[in-house]
Symmetry: C2
């Protein structure tokens, strides 16, 4: 299947509009947008996946409830404050965000998804957001996709948006999406904010199934620091404006849609890794030859989360010893003497021992901005791929203190 | 129970001698000792605990086999090379180390424990070690404890040794010990090299039980980077020279011995955290009020391993939001609205919400070299304590490359 990239991001599919305003949530007086709205002029079917963290932010709880009750056709999202660990007032604030927007848009409160990202534990500055929540619905435009993508950024340094056309069930459809996420990226569920729109005509069952599959193949396979956020959310809205009979589950068209959706999400997931907080390498980690899928996954995640392995990537050191030691504590079934490890196909370790490839060759590969590590366990046929990054001194430095946020919120 | 510190480290108990030589394992021509030997002039009972990493270094496999067959009365250890992922030749080398030393000492090969620590994947430079292995047994002295402790150091910046006298079963006994370990420190089994000697007269059953308990309460409760080595080993040798009837299991004396041993190991374990590679904080993490012991442990380990939490400690940021987010993904049973988090007893989070303690008070505590974080889940009575550290930009920088080792070994 081939996809054609188009412009417009999350507003590229027909019938979607977006916009953003600045409410001083990130910083009082800072003109950067921090409140974004996506809206479909037509009713949608919708689906979502959420963080599996047991500490869930208020907007996650509210959006999950809304999704259970109705289909979403709008998403209101703020950056700069996660509205997490904010108790009952936090729930009230998240509901109020949906309510204000819904009333301006003339839709029901439960048709609005709510998302927040930023610092944990601070109440939302609802007073400062009041005006923005009222005026934003009047400022939506067909080319507001970029504005939305920019407004949800926190520590992100690049805008993450994509839109494609694809032929699904013989019909040309569009999928648009934007995402944010730079730290707290870990393989387990959604792992950041991502909003997807499509004009495909699709059944709810097919949409849900496609989303779960696409997230499993994309956002669940990236790892920056091994942490998992309280706010991770992926929402998809489909308004059917491309026309035609709804794509139903178990159809060829559903598989085609699923593939297109995964392509979109994987592009964004990789963009999140590339933009990992102050990291410098993009590493594709292929684990092959495991007895079980879960073993392949355990091995990949142990390697991708090891501080020592990630430090060596930062230094361009093809340190297969640290990789094999992480494989050893992954709890997967392994046999040390069967393990092969290669950098861009060049053997670093064969049968658990140092391979004959000159160290210089391996060092050349490991010093590049991106490379692929292949681990073959030679026990079976299961495999798993993770996209991950190094861990840099700058990452630690960048994450040393959130004091500025607290000070900005008047807490000292 | 009170213990009195004495001098002499691992050679403090009666009948033990030690020594070390330089073989150029760490670096050719480097005069730093890198081969150490501990020997008891009398037969011993012995016990050991080892890494649970499925990739085990050759010396671990060899020492486990020796311990199954006989009681150890000598330990030969080298630093600079882990003899891990070295295949059958690695096993041969480890056996050869034991054999050479045993023959000089006039004891059996299987009475010698073998340990290695350093870089993974390189063969031991046996040729350079040959002379040292032969001459070291002739250079042992009663005051060689310090030399042994220094010779096993790798990235350690402080010597880690201790010796105490204790009254066990009415008899005065001595316990001496030394340890190394600065990176790759993670709660799960032994986690570094540690050699313990005692002149207590003790049954093998009591010694084994005491060691397992003491390791569980010490080395299994420290965490620097969440990595687990291929070589971790704790060995204890008891030669009975303090006299008296052997201490048997289930006796009051066995409990007293166990307590004394745990005191010794906990001191060394804490010293390892304090000397964590380029880290700056010593954090005691108490998790209380869990339903189950395993829940308390999961919560403590999730916090202690979180790169984001550790970064905030580095910055002196009392960031309870990151702590609660780690609690949320720990997979322990929790209720967000019941969680309290305190720094040195000052509430940072109460009932899952920001507490009223002024931020300045918390920042003052978090900016100290050491502080205690208490997490109360308010669900039950189970608790767990971990000793851990921050993660620093310098840690990453320090671990970026092991190329110097490889170059030193002639591999380029």
């Amino acid at each position: 299947m081939s996809f054609k990239k188009v412009k417009g991001g999350v507003c590229a599919p027909q019938g979607f509009r977006g916009g953003a305003v600045s409410c001083g949530i990130k910083e009082v007086g800072n003109p950067r947008d921090d409140l974004a709205l996506i809206y479909s002029d037509h009713p949608c079917v919708s689906a979502g996946t959420f963080t599996t963290n047991r500490v869930k932010a208020a907007p996650v709880k509210v959006t999950q409830a809304h999704l259970r009750a109705m289909d979403l056709r709008a998403v209101i999202a703020n950056s700069g404050n996660a509205n997490a660990c904010t108790g009952v007032p936090g729930i009230t604030d998240a509901r109020q965000m949906a309510k204000t927007v819904a009333s301006s848009l003339g839709i029901r409160q439960r048709e609005v998804g709510v998302c927040s990202t930023g610092v944990i534990g601070l109440p939302l500055p609802m007073q400062r957001m009041e005006e923005g929540l009222h005026t934003l619905p009047t400022k939506l435009t067909r080319d507001g996709g970029r504005q939305v993508a920019e407004a949800i950024m926190t520590s992100d340094t690049t805008v993450k948006e994509i839109a494609i056309t694809a032929t699904v069930g013989g019909k040309k459809i569009r999928i648009g999406a934007c995402a944010k996420g730079a730290g707290m990226i870990c393989p387990s569920m959604a792992t950041m904010l991502c909003f997807v729109t499509t004009d495909a005509s699709i059944s709810k069952a097919c949409l849900q199934k496609s989303l779960l599959e696409a997230v499993e193949g994309s956002f669940n396979r990236i790892c920056i620091d091994g942490d998992m956020s309280t706010n991770d959310t992926v929402l998809v809205l489909a308004n059917g404006q491309a026309g035609g009979k709804p794509i139903t589950r178990r159809s060829k068209a559903c598989r085609e849609f699923s593939e297109a959706l995964q392509h979109v999400l994987l592009e964004l997931a990789k963009a999140c890794v590339r933009d990992g907080e102050r990291v410098s390498k993009f590493v594709t980690l292929n684990v092959q030859g495991a007895s079980l899928y879960l073993d392949a996954k355990k091995v990949a995640e142990a390697i991708a989360k090891s501080a020592l392995v990630k430090s060596s990537w930062n230094g361009g050191d093809p340190n297969w010893g640290r990789i094999i030691h992480a494989i050893g504590y992954s709890r997967a079934r392994i046999r040390e003497e069967l393990i092969d490890i290669a950098y861009n196909g060049k053997a670093a370790c064969e049968g658990g021992l140092m391979a004959k490839t000159p160290l210089k060759t391996l060092r050349d590969i490991a010093s590049r901005d991106q490379f692929t590590i292949t681990v073959d366990l030679h026990l079976g046929k299961a495999d798993y791929t993770i996209y991950t990054s190094d861990l840099s001194p700058e990452y630690i430095d960048f994450n040393r203190s959130e004091y500025a946020y607290w000070k900005n919120a008047g807490i000292d």
